[in-house]
């Protein structure tokens, strides 16, 4: 491998930590996508556009001195409504999974154009007090924005997992995804649950968007930069599984970061996508 070198222990440890942080964001971005794909059978590419819309809204609110985390109070319900509305349209026209991919790809383009017309194609950076806070523990650095993202990703993933596993609503959603006709026979209101779940997926995109704004500089065209790796996390994690994207995202993030620590950074995507291919070959039922 070009540029291969043995990293120092501190470099390796800090790189693993960086990988966990970015992996948590992959997981958070992938969670809504995975639920939509696995439980609603809709491949919602607009998820990335919605996450960036939320990021820009967070940026805009920060200009009015609204705390980025407080902005979730406005952004999450708004995104929930958009997601539920979009699902209503797709259900109304009985959009198939493949057509949902095409439709939401078009919608992503519209969202990109909308963001560009409002905030221009210029780069935008959210400046907040969080950005200046970090802790040094045992020689390792823990920046607050990344810690917030990690905590939100872990907390939300486990909460969604618990809801799907232990509540009647969650069981009904899983049942409707498994066999809609039988679920309906048992009184499951598929339409209502579909709207709820679609809204939840978009709301999750909203949370991921706020985390994006906290740590990254924004540009409308960067919507597409996340698609490949987050899709990989979703496929690896298993469709419709709440903890899957977080675990798979972390594996990908760490593998990318360690690759960058020991060899050329340009090898990182090769390693993560090779990992995806290997796992899909060894466990072809993973993404079913």
């Amino acid at each position: 491998m070009p540029g291969f070198s043995l990293p120092s222990a501190s470099l390796l440890a800090q790189s693993v930590l960086s990988g966990i942080f970015v992996g948590a964001l992959y997981g958070l971005l992938g969670l809504g996508l995975s639920l939509s794909w696995g439980l609603l059978r809709l491949i919602n590419l607009a998820h990335f556009g919605l996450a960036f819309l939320a990021a820009y809204l967070c940026y805009q609110l920060s200009l009015a001195h609204v705390d980025p985390l407080l902005s979730l109070v406005l952004i999450v319900p708004l995104l929930f409504a958009i997601g539920a509305g979009l699902h209503w349209v797709m259900a109304r026209f009985a959009v198939t999974p493949f057509n949902s991919l095409l439709l939401t790809f078009g919608l992503t383009g519209i969202l990109e154009a909308l963001i560009q017309s409002v905030w221009t194609a210029d780069f935008r950076k959210l400046e907040s007090a969080y950005g200046n806070v970090k802790w040094k523990i045992g020689g390792l650095y823990f920046p607050l924005p990344e810690v917030i993202t990690l905590l939100l990703a872990v907390g939300i993933s486990f909460a969604v997992w618990a809801v799907l596993r232990y509540t009647d609503l969650g069981k009904a959603m899983r049942a409707a995804a498994e066999d809609p006709a039988v679920a309906a026979a048992f009184g499951v209101d598929e339409k209502r649950n579909g709207l709820l779940l679609a809204g939840l997926c978009s709301a999750l995109a909203g949370v991921a968007g706020v985390c994006l704004a906290l740590s990254f500089t924004l540009a409308p065209s960067q919507i597409y930069a996340w698609v490949g790796v987050v899709f990989a996390a979703v496929m690896l994690g298993g469709l419709g599984r709440a903890l899957g994207p977080l675990i798979a995202g972390t594996v990908i993030g760490v593998s990318e970061a360690v690759t960058m620590a020991v060899t050329a950074p340009s090898w990182a995507p090769i390693v993560s996508f090779t990992l995806l291919i290997v796992i899909l070959v060894l466990r072809p039922g993973r993404a079913a």
Partner: protein, 399 residues
């Protein structure tokens, strides 16, 4: 049946009237200049600068009476940051839109596409920011970005000259770079240059265009402990790397960024003393060049209105303005829209621009290397090298 008869006088009169009518009709028809720009896609943040500059220039040109007494209409299409689409659109501009003249797109990939089309139809192509001069094989292509015929040698020499004359001449260098073609080309030149000067390369890393995670790269730079970090940055790379460095409490002693998005970088507190290159800045002696001060004033005004985050003029805006100056000079000097005549004039003459007098007789029609070294000082870009281009005794600083 009697045949109509025309006297000689009537025929001459009709001919004159026809010619006058034709001239009148032509005077009323605008000169159409066609181009594409990356109005959407990953290059759109920079391309919007070129769009704004083009709009201001054409507006000002029309106020001055246009070209050859005719108003100018700029036909600009969105190539979506895709070189293949740029090729199709330039083909359309020539064959379907039938524009009179062409103007180059942004950036290197699209310029090369446009150059192929221009060559097929023997059209002059003035281009803004082609980063690899050896790729400009077409004789009627003219660069507005005066980086010289061999920037990988001359520009990198300027950077290391400036550092050698600075307060802490470096002994060890980390070269970290994007694989974006024009950037990788310059970073390869930097590696050669530092070897020639007996400096030690302690780290070399490359990343793909569009890399998101700079944390591990920052870690490796910190681990290598270089005296100077050469960052082959394009767009936001510099900001992202500095953000990542900040998170691990690392401040590079001296640092250089090749082609960064200038506004966002200068606004970043961590970019203190960051170095870069420029062909024009909002300071003397650049403002004394023809049209320089007026352009800066107009650009600031319009960029503010357009809501651009950065309203100052630097390389991108200056190269764009220069491109229009070159095209106007060619048309006015030849009093013609004939591409061959315009091309011949530009090859044989120097043109006054906001960058200074430009010549087009080197490799790929590139002339002198007018790239200067600038540094972020007190939240502002300041030219620090060569000495004769500095203002107010500005000097290179180290962290």
């Amino acid at each position: 049946m009697t045949r109509p008869t025309f006297s000689r006088r009537a025929i001459v009169a009709a001919g004159l009237a026809g010619a006058a009518g034709l001239t009148f009709a032509q005077a009323g028809t605008p000169v159409r200049i066609g181009s594409t720009l990356a109005l959407t896609g990953p290059l759109s943040a920079t391309a919007q600068i070129h769009k704004l500059v083009g709009e201001i220039y054409v507006e000002q040109l029309n106020k001055r009476g246009g070209l050859l007494g005719r108003q100018v209409e700029w036909v600009v299409k969105d190539d979506q940051s895709k070189p293949d689409l740029a090729r199709t659109l330039y083909e359309q501009l020539v064959t379907a839109d039938k524009v009179d003249l062409l103007m180059g797109p942004y950036a290197t990939g699209a310029i090369l596409s446009a150059m192929g089309v221009a060559q097929r139809y023997n059209k002059v192509l003035v281009h803004h920011t082609l980063g690899v001069p050896s790729l400009a094989k077409y004789e009627l292509a003219f660069p507005a970005w005066s980086l010289g015929s061999e920037p990988q040698n001359t520009v990198t020499a300027s950077v290391f000259d400036a550092l050698a004359a600075g307060p802490k001449p470096p002994k060890t260098v980390a070269v970290v770079t994007s694989k974006f073609p024009s950037i990788a080309f310059m970073s390869a030149g930097a590696r050669e240059m530092l070897k020639k000067r007996g400096l030690t390369e302690v780290l070399f890393l490359e990343w793909d265009f569009g890399n998101r995670d700079f944390g591990p790269i920052a870690n490796r730079v910190k681990d290598a402990k270089p005296d100077f970090v050469w960052v082959g940055a394009i767009g936001l790379d510099g900001n992202l790397l500095l953000d990542a460095m900040k998170k691990i409490d690392y401040e590079p002693p001296q640092h250089f960024y090749m082609y960064p998005a200038p506004g966002p970088l200068v606004a970043l507190p961590e970019a203190k003393n960051a170095l870069s290159v420029t062909i024009f800045e909002d300071q003397q002696p650049f403002l004394s060049n023809p049209g320089g001060a007026e352009f800066v004033r107009l650009y600031r005004e319009r960029a503010t209105k357009a809501g651009l985050a950065d309203t100052s003029v630097e390389t991108q805006a200056a190269a764009s303005w220069t491109a229009w100056q070159i095209l106007e000079a060619g048309v006015n000097a030849t009093k013609s829209l004939d591409d061959q005549k315009i091309g011949a004039f530009l090859k044989a003459n120097r043109v006054d621009t906001i960058q200074g007098k430009l010549r087009f007789d080197g490799l790929g029609n590139f002339g002198d290397d007018l790239m200067r070294i600038k540094q972020v000082q007190n939240g502002k870009w300041v030219v620090v090298w060569p000495k004769e281009m500095t203002a107010g005794g500005a000097k290179l600083l180290a962290n």
